[in-house]
């Protein structure tokens, strides 16, 4: 339920709160603080994604104190992070330098590094968003779109506009309508270069992206084509007729 609710919130799909309410009900029934904290962090994120900052705070208020004394590591981090994101500045309880803590102390780029290396593309993009740097934010936008995270993408666009950025790419990453694997136009571009034998770095140069964004696209392509590696990608793509156009 938690996953369904959070997915809906991130995609901008209807009714994230039905499943999130159910998840909270179940967590409260179990009366386990660790579950409640995890669910509350997710609800705080869902609130932030729909620009309801007050809700993000109220969802986590009573839990912050409880969690501090019980010390629920990363889940407390997530809760604290969403409160920080909506502007709450409170006493930081020192845990180890998790990516969230780096992020909250103004070292968003280092946070991005850690998330990337641990394989959390959504959180990595969130870190890029908070660097305040236009180039990084444009990359975050591309990543959110390729992940289908519409809500975060819209927040990124709003912030870019507020910064006065020009040339913000429009629209979601559109799926090329005549291809069976549901690849976006950008993913098809990357696929063709992968099949030509280019490395991620070379593709990044060709398309004016960062290597990490290219790696993100490549993982998504492998997943959509159900291919085990770059070598298998060519066979799969040929089988589906993706290389003909």
């Amino acid at each position: 339920m938690l996953v369904v609710g959070l997915l809906r919130a991130r995609r901008g799909d209807p009714d994230p709160w039905g499943p999130l309410d159910e998840a909270l009900g179940l967590a409260r029934q179990a009366a386990e603080l660790q579950y409640i904290v995890v669910v509350s962090a997710a609800r705080a994120e869902a609130a932030w994604l729909e620009n309801n900052n007050a809700l993000a705070v109220s969802e986590t208020d009573e839990l912050v104190e409880q969690a501090v004394t019980s010390g629920y590591g990363w889940a407390l981090d997530s809760m604290a992070y969403w409160r920080w994101q909506v502007g709450v500045r409170e006493e930081a309880v020192e845990f180890d330098t998790s990516p969230r803590r780096l992020h909250m102390s103004g070292r968003a780029l280092e946070a991005f590094d850690q998330w990337e290396r641990s394989g959390y593309p959504y959180e990595a993009a969130l870190a890029l968003l908070d660097t305040g740097d236009e180039k990084h934010m444009l990359e975050a936008l591309e990543r959110f779109r390729s992940l289908g995270a519409r809500a975060a993408a819209e927040i990124t666009v709003r912030r870019l506009r507020a910064m006065g950025a020009r040339h913000i790419p429009r629209g979601p990453n559109r799926v090329a309508s005549n291809n069976p694997a549901g690849l976006t136009a950008r993913e098809l571009e990357v696929l063709r270069l992968v099949v030509e034998g280019l490395t991620d770095g070379e593709i990044a140069e060709r398309l004016y992206l960062s290597r990490r964004t290219v790696s993100q696209h490549v993982s998504t392509i492998l997943r959509k084509l159900d291919a085990k590696s770059r070598r298998h990608v060519k066979a799969e793509a040929q089988r589906l007729g993706l290389l003909d156009a």
Binding site: L7, G12, D15, G171, P172, S177
Partner: protein
């Protein structure tokens, strides 16, 4: 069952012929939808814009996303809607 409007953009366009092939293609879409309880009610196609607004009844948004993926159809946005019809204005109060 909730009703949804699905907005889609066809970056390369999308053509449905008015012939037997077109009929077969449509029926295939309908069959795939029915696997997950998704019913395609009707669609409005924006003239010259490669964009459509499609009305569905479905158990939840995930069913729409899954069947759309199986049918190779893009999704920009899914919105849950209630139906407002001028000829039934007396039946019940409407709140948005």
């Amino acid at each position: 069952m909730p009703r949804y409007i699905v907005e889609r953009t066809f970056s390369d366009g999308w053509t449905l012929e008015h012939d037997d092939d077109g009929v077969t293609a449509c029926l295939r879409l309908v069959d795939t939808n029915s696997d997950l309880g998704v019913t395609w009610i009707t669609s409005f196609v924006a003239v010259g814009q490669r964009k459509s607004f499609c009305v569905y009844d479905a158990p939840h948004p995930e069913a729409i996303r899954k069947t759309a993926a199986r049918n190779s159809l893009p999704i920009d946005r899914i919105t849950q809607v209630t139906v407002l019809d001028p000829y039934f204005y007396r039946s019940a109060p409407i709140t948005t």
